[in-house]
């Protein structure tokens, strides 16, 4: 009699574990729960609700036009498969010049020609996106060169040192090149 009670008790604890371990996969639901605030933050960044990007670099007068530059994220470049490391900047033209500027290009280092002016900013003139390749051997004291091409064919350049434009990229390059 008493042994059977003990056995039942033993069985009860066993069955509780037995029962609950099959619900453990529910812990995976915690992943989206935890990530939700980050997701919302990120989406508002993409949507421009937080402005041009996570960190605004500054505004420059370029010939007759003005352009504002921002880092999409305050961090180093990201590896994109075989294309290598890419760093994303956003740019905004002033409302008056949006109709005058045909294209804005960006590259690390001085461009040789219009053809090699770098990556083109795409999207709205008030929120252009530049995905700029950052070669692993880039000098960390390099300059970021922007080329603004007018519809009339005029070319104007703007320059930021990489240290101003993206301290995180400078840090990234230094770490990469130390290795």
């Amino acid at each position: 009699m008493s042994t059977s009670v003990a056995m039942q008790k033993n069985h009860k604890t066993h069955s509780r574990w037995f029962r609950w371990r099959f619900h453990l996969s529910g812990l995976l639901i915690l992943i989206p729960v935890v990530l939700t605030p980050f997701y919302i933050e990120l989406m508002s960044l993409f949507g421009g609700a937080n402005g041009l990007g996570e960190r605004v670099v500054g505004t420059q007068q370029v010939g007759p036009w003005t352009i504002t530059l921002a880092e999409q994220f305050e961090r180093g470049p990201k590896l994109d498969g075989p294309a290598g490391y890419m760093k994303t900047f956003n740019g905004a033209l002033c409302q008056e010049c949006a109709e005058q500027v045909k294209a804005v290009y960006m590259r690390l280092g001085k461009p040789r020609s219009l053809r090699t002016a770098g990556v083109i900013g795409f999207g709205s003139p008030y929120h252009m996106t530049f995905s700029m390749p950052v070669p692993e051997n880039s000098a960390s004291d390099a300059d970021l060169w922007l080329t603004l091409e007018g519809w009339d064919g005029a070319l104007h350049h703007a320059q930021w040192s990489l240290a101003e434009a993206s301290p995180a990229t400078v840090q990234f390059l230094q770490q990469l090149q130390e290795k």
Partner: protein, 401 residues
């Protein structure tokens, strides 16, 4: 256990199939339940927004005439916010919805604007970026785990979710094997409410299961495809076909202009160019050129093969159609990818199909739940001997936990 099933010969083999069926989903049932539930909500997420937000509805006036053309939509926005830049206009696939335009403002913010397709009234606005529809999709599709973290190029969550297609498909197959003469369930449906939870859930599980055979098959196969698609992408296999370099307008084809932007083709003119050369194209989505060297991108659902969108790139300076991607022009891998996605989401016919997907989504979610209920009631409410036997069998079968 159900004597109808286990008593039949050959007993041993049936038992083996039955054990496999029982153990496939049990260790992951709650996660699977969550994914099915969020997927069910995701199919009708647009309709849910419709229910709660009147500004996304079409609201036709009594004398509803023609719908606004794309040019008229652009005019509405120019009047509302001079200087604003229109990035994309989506015309409703389903006549219940308002037009949506993605707008970027001079202060670098952007918005989705909902426009009455008949009157041109701006009915509402929402900050672009976060929205309920994308949020539910992202939870269901990849648990919000970011893409391209360095470890994998797709999200890790994408794989965690899509791999569930395998136990789902195996559950369907093993379920049909152990459910002897399942086709009789169509003729003699049985759902007993008065014989306790175990009997009710058992009846439900079998009845919902046989009616959902095509749906479960579609969902599990498309999920397995999503897994394959991710792996193909990691391996660098192109979906656009090997020789699909992007198309841009050449620099010397663009007129110079002393007075700023030269006159471009209007959106309606671009669409007219497509319609002049191609039959049966109804423009649903219009992307405006994203650079001075870009094209109008016009998307319309194929009428011959509605699982797939067709796309056309119209040169905004010359009106030439520089790329036409009709169904037959798409490489096989791209067609597979587009069709699989449409089959998974059920968004290629209209509201009716969405509701059908929703209904079967609810059934599938409840099947996961009922499967768990059957498993636990059977295991815990039955005799100690049965438990011991089950444990022994489970060990034999190799505990998947």
């Amino acid at each position: 256990m159900n004597p109808n099933i286990e008593a039949k010969a050959p007993r041993k083999r049936t038992q083996w199939w039955f054990l496999l069926h029982s153990w496939l989903a049990m260790p992951i049932w709650l996660f699977l339940f969550f994914v099915c539930l969020t997927g069910t909500i995701a199919t009708v997420s647009q309709e849910i927004i419709w229910l709660f937000d009147s500004s996304v509805r079409a609201n036709p006036p009594a004398d509803a005439g023609k719908m606004l053309s794309f040019d008229e939509v652009i005019e509405v926005i120019e009047r509302d916010a001079p200087g604003a830049y229109v990035e994309k206009i989506t015309r409703p696939v389903k006549s219940q919805f308002a037009l949506t335009a993605e707008i970027s403002y001079p202060d670098s913010t952007s918005e989705n604007v909902f426009i009455n397709p008949y009157t041109g009234e701006i009915q509402g606005r929402a900050a672009s970026g976060f929205n309920f529809r994308q949020f539910v999709r992202a939870i269901h599709g990849w648990l919000l785990i970011p893409f391209n973290t360095g470890f994998t190029r797709y999200s890790l969550g994408w794989y965690m979710v899509s791999i569930l297609g395998i136990p789902l498909l195996l559950s369907l197959i093993t379920g049909l094997v152990v459910y002897k003469k399942f086709w009789r369930g169509f003729l003699q449906p049985r759902l007993r409410f008065n014989r306790g939870a175990r009997v009710f859930w058992g009846d439900f599980h079998r009845l919902a299961g046989i009616w959902s055979i095509p749906f479960i098959f579609i969902i599990s196969v498309t999920s397995i495809w999503f897994l394959i698609q991710g792996l193909l992408f990691e391996a660098g296999v192109p979906f656009n076909g090997v020789s699909q370099a992007p198309v841009y307008v050449a620099r010397d084809e663009i007129p110079t202009s002393e007075q700023g932007r030269p006159p471009l083709l209007s959106a309606d003119q671009a669409i007219a160019q497509v319609n002049a050369l191609y039959d049966n194209v109804e423009a649903q989505v219009l992307h405006l050129p994203s650079t001075a060297f870009g094209h109008y991108r016009i998307l319309g659902r194929s009428q011959a093969f509605p699982l797939v969108h067709e796309s056309f790139l119209v040169n905004p300076y010359s009106g030439a159609i520089d790329e036409a991607m009709r169904v037959t022009d798409q490489p096989g891998l791209m067609l597979t990818r587009l069709s699989m996605r449409a089959l998974h989401t059920g968004d290629f016919v209209g509201l009716t199909l969405k509701l059908v997907y929703f209904l079967f989504g609810v059934l599938l979610t409840m099947m996961v739940f009922s499967g768990m209920r059957i498993w636990t009631t059977r295991t815990f409410k039955s005799t100690k001997a049965a438990i011991r036997q089950k444990t022994a069998r489970a060990n034999l079968a190799g505990d998947p936990t």
